[in-house]
């Protein structure tokens, strides 16, 4: 059998203790007499449960500074309740002025945006970290739409009735209709910014189409591996994460193609995400069926593993 040096040209280091984590590193721990290596990890773990279980919830922020607002509860009852997440637990904050579900959400925990929702609402509200204020209405009322950006520069796209292709751009004071999606759809996922956005999946049925927004128009890209609707997202146009959608599948987008990664523990759709999060640190919360208050946190890292020989 070939030795490690014959294969790699170097000997494995013999160390008294495990070194600082560097992906791919292999060493022999002379203290424990074990051969070890550092491997990259991508996994979901449970986060703190929301105070109010719901689906069709709007979302903003990151894994450690998240925001969930609106939604429909098991009663059923459409609510305007907002909750902030600190990486461990959820705390109720100021309610939306207009209770609703199936709205678009994006921005951050201290500068969040909730747009449209319910049947054909046009109302848009911004959050300042404690309360919501109405801004200019969008032009085309809709629900189960997606959005991306901030409270000063944003886009919303898709939705229902039907499978809408309309896209609108927000400049901080007004919404303007801009070029349409190539594939009209509802219940889609969104990520990115007002000038580098990403639309993926959606319905009716289960769609896998992905489109990139460059600030002017949408262009078709490689499809999701698992077609689905009512999914959520995190990250930017060149490093996005798509998860859920009545399935537990999670996929990473690198600006060109989607790759499957670790699944959510619980399949769900109409869940909240982390629009201001990253591909490597995402948040999933709420959703249905059944309507849940469960939260999951996606993280990447490097773990130390022992290499065993049979």
């Amino acid at each position: 059998m070939a030795t490690y040096k014959e294969l790699k040209g170097i000997n494995i280091q013999s160390l008294d203790s495990d070194p600082t984590a560097v992906e791919g590193e292999v060493w022999y721990n002379s203290g424990t007499s074990l051969l070890k290596m550092h491997v990259a990890t991508e996994s979901w773990a449970s986060g703190g449960n929301m105070n109010s279980a719901r689906y069709g919830v709007g979302s903003a922020g990151t894994q450690t500074a998240g925001l969930g607002f609106g939604g429909d509860t098991p009663t059923p009852s459409v609510v305007g309740i907002a909750e902030e997440y600190d990486g461990s637990s959820w705390t109720e904050s100021g309610d939306l002025n207009t209770a609703r579900y199936n709205l678009a959400g994006f921005g951050t925990q201290t500068a969040g945006f909730g747009v449209a929702g319910d049947a054909t609402l046009v109302v848009a509200e911004t959050y300042n970290g404690s309360s919501w204020s109405e801004t200019g209405d969008i032009n085309t009322g809709r629900n189960v739409l997606a959005g991306a950006g901030t409270t000063t520069a944003a886009i919303v796209f898709g939705g229902t009735p039907g499978g809408k292709d309309e896209t609108e751009s927000w400049n901080g004071s007004a919404w303007t209709e801009v070029n349409d999606l190539n594939t009209g759809r509802r219940q889609l996922g969104g990520a990115g910014t007002s000038t580098a956005g990403l639309a993926f999946g959606g319905g009716p049925g289960n769609k896998d189409e992905t489109e990139e927004w460059n600030g002017t128009s949408w262009s078709e890209q490689n499809n999701l591996n698992t077609a689905r609707h009512v999914l959520a997202g995190s990250g930017i146009q060149t490093a996005a994460l798509a998860f859920g959608g009545s399935v537990n599948r999670t996929e990473k987008y690198d600006g060109t193609s989607w790759t499957e990664t670790s699944d959510l523990a619980t399949s769900r759709g109409a869940l909240g995400g982390s629009p201001a999060g990253t591909q490597g640190t995402a948040l999933a919360f709420g959703g249905t069926p059944p309507i849940t208050n469960a939260t999951e946190e996606f993280s990447t890292g490097v773990s130390t593993e022992t290499i065993a020989f049979d």
Binding site: A45, S46, G47, Y55, A265, P289
Partner: protein
Amino acid sequence: MATDKGFFNYWVVENSGKGFITHVDSRKFWISGYPANVWVCDDIPESRDWGARNSAATKTKAEAQTLVTNAVNTAKSDWDDNNVDGETAAEKIGRIGAKPTDITLP
């Protein structure tokens, strides 16, 4: 510990939030949640430790399947009863998603 499943453990336990499933758990064994607080894991020592840590109740596969089926049937009824006057079938799906479907546990 359930004993009729071969490769999986079937548990019932409410998700307690942070720490319920850790990143280490996720890396060590496959775990998937279903309606009625049913959880299915690879049958390995680490998943049994997870069940003990969370005071999960063990179930046979048949028992777990019954719980899930009942929960799905309730969700189907709730879906049937959730209507808005004048709404088409397509509009209903757009509003609350598709009708829940049967789940068969692994």
